[in-house]
Amino acid sequence: MKLAGMLLLLAGWVVVISAVVLLASPLSRGLFVFSGFGVEMLGLVLAFRKEAL
């Protein structure tokens, strides 16, 4: 679960960076950056799940 969380965190960051590099329109860039951020939040949830008793 922790490994999956870490991989999701990395994947979210790649989405964020890709959005900054590839998209020019402020709206689409913003949407994809926040989508990547959302993926990171999912990764954090997964990483924390193992700890919650």
Binding site: M6, L22, G43, A52
Partner: protein
């Protein structure tokens, strides 16, 4: 956003001389939040971590960080330059040791890297072996901190988001909310994940037991001691890293104090409402949370906004400490993940929301995209720095177990690792005494 190179007045160096007060204050505060049976071990760990961090940073850490405008490894993505890592000589051989901005930046960070090293130490208190904490500190000071600091302060890609992609003035962090505190807070989270909770903290049903700090006077004394050091840190950082005019240093100092004050008052009110009586240790943590938030926003906002952000930081610290400890079973005695990590992230977001630069307004500057630049920076901290920090500490744990053995859990770190306690004249609890 990168300030111009050149010479700086000697007063900048006087500010830097005061920064160790923040380090000392944080060490004293975190010792007070721990237990008597590990107090000597914690203070020794703090001192040796600060010492090792400084040595490692000078030996090779600064080489990866570098300064804006010097030689670095650059890759081109989408036709635009992305500055990833510096290539300065090891052992500060590239420094002139004059009163240049480069020398002042390097000098300041010999202390700030030690401040970053103290943050995970507090979260691993009472169970983190001295040798393990030192190796982890070397990883933090020699690789993690310099790499991210290069991206923010050394002319790296985050600071160039404005120039390359029109995102405001790029990711900004004047006093180290991201480079020092969020990096330290995420390192603390990684260490806590690897070490697990203290013995006796959680029952088999997952119910959390209160292990209060042994000396609240130390906690609050540390808070007071931190203030001048933090004002100096924010002032020096603002002057060196974001080019704040020297005439605005009073604003930086006032905003720093206001943020901390508002954070403390917010915690006073929040804990008073939630627990019927104010909680001194949480108020201390919220004071630190306010200071951390100020590191992100101090040169960019008005005093009213500083109070507002400090109030929010105080509430975030109180609620997150409870949530992480009770709901997620995260045992971190010093409160670092909340007061450094989460408060730092809030400060970085707040600087994206409230950024106001009077000196740029006359040039037609509009901070459009600034919030997005800050979000990209935070996403980098969570999506790159956290996995890297966790991965490095996980690998370290495979070769050198980081947690003390069961005997250390029972005896305390002072007796297990040092052979003597911090207070040999006093026996507070029978299980803390062993015949020697």
């Amino acid at each position: 956003m990168n300030p111009p190179a050149g010479l700086v007045p000697p007063t900048y160096f006087i500010l830097i001389f005061l920064v160790p007060l923040a380090v000392a204050g944080l060490a004293i505060m975190n010792t007070g939040l721990g237990r008597t049976r590990s107090a000597a071990h914690f203070m020794l760990s703090s001192l040796s971590s600060v010492a090792l961090a400084a040595c490692v940073y000078v030996l090779w850490g600064f080489s990866w960080e570098g300064v804006s405008g010097q030689v670095a490894h650059i890759v081109f993505l989408g036709g635009r330059p992305w500055d990833w890592i510096a290539t300065d000589p090891f052992l500060w051989h590239g420094l002139a040791f004059d009163n240049s901005r480069v020398t002042a930046s390097a000098f300041l960070q010999v202390f700030t890297v030690g401040l970053a090293a103290l943050i995970p130490l507090a979260s691993g208190a009472d169970r983190w072996r001295l040798t393990s904490s030192l190796i982890s500190t070397a990883l933090l000071a020699g690789w993690i901190y310099p790499l991210f600091a290069h991206w923010v302060w050394g002319g790296g890609w985050l600071s160039e988001l404005g120039t390359n992609y029109g995102l405001g003035i790029g990711f900004v962090d004047a006093g180290g909310a991201s480079t020092i505190h969020v990096v330290g807070g995420l390192s603390a989270l990684s260490v806590v994940w690897i070490l697990g909770p203290r013995f006796g903290k959680y029952s088999t049903e997952g119910v959390s037991a209160a292990i209060p700090g042994y000396n609240i006077v130390y906690v609050l004394l540390g808070c007071g001691l931190m203030l001048p050091g933090w004002i100096a840190l924010n002032a020096a950082g603002s002057l060196l890293f974001v080019g704040t005019p020297a005439g605005q240093i009073a604003l930086v100092a006032v905003n720093t104090f206001l943020c901390a004050s508002a954070g403390c008052l917010a915690a006073l009110a929040t804990t008073g409402v939630r627990f019927s009586k104010p909680d001194a240790s949480l108020c201390g943590n919220a004071w630190v949370g306010g200071l951390v938030t100020s590191s992100a926003i101090a040169p960019f906002v008005t005093p009213g906004v500083a109070i507002l952000t400090g109030l929010v930081a105080g509430v975030i610290v109180v609620l997150s400490v409870e949530f992480l400890e009770m709901r997620l079973s995260i045992d971190y005695p010093g409160g670092a993940i909340s007061s450094h990590g989460l408060a730092g992230i809030w400060g970085l977001l707040a600087s994206g929301i409230f950024l106001h630069l009077p000196r740029l307004a006359s040039t037609g500057f509009h901070p459009r995209g600034q919030f997005l630049a800050q979000v990209v920076g935070i996403a980098t901290l969570l999506g790159f720095v956290l996995p890297m920090t966790f991965g490095l500490n996980w690998i370290l744990n495979r070769f050198h177990v980081q947690r003390v053995d069961r005997q250390g859990d029972l005896l305390g770190m002072d007796l297990r690792e040092l052979g003597g306690g911090a207070y040999p004249e006093f026996v507070v609890r029978s299980d803390e005494y062993t015949q020697r």
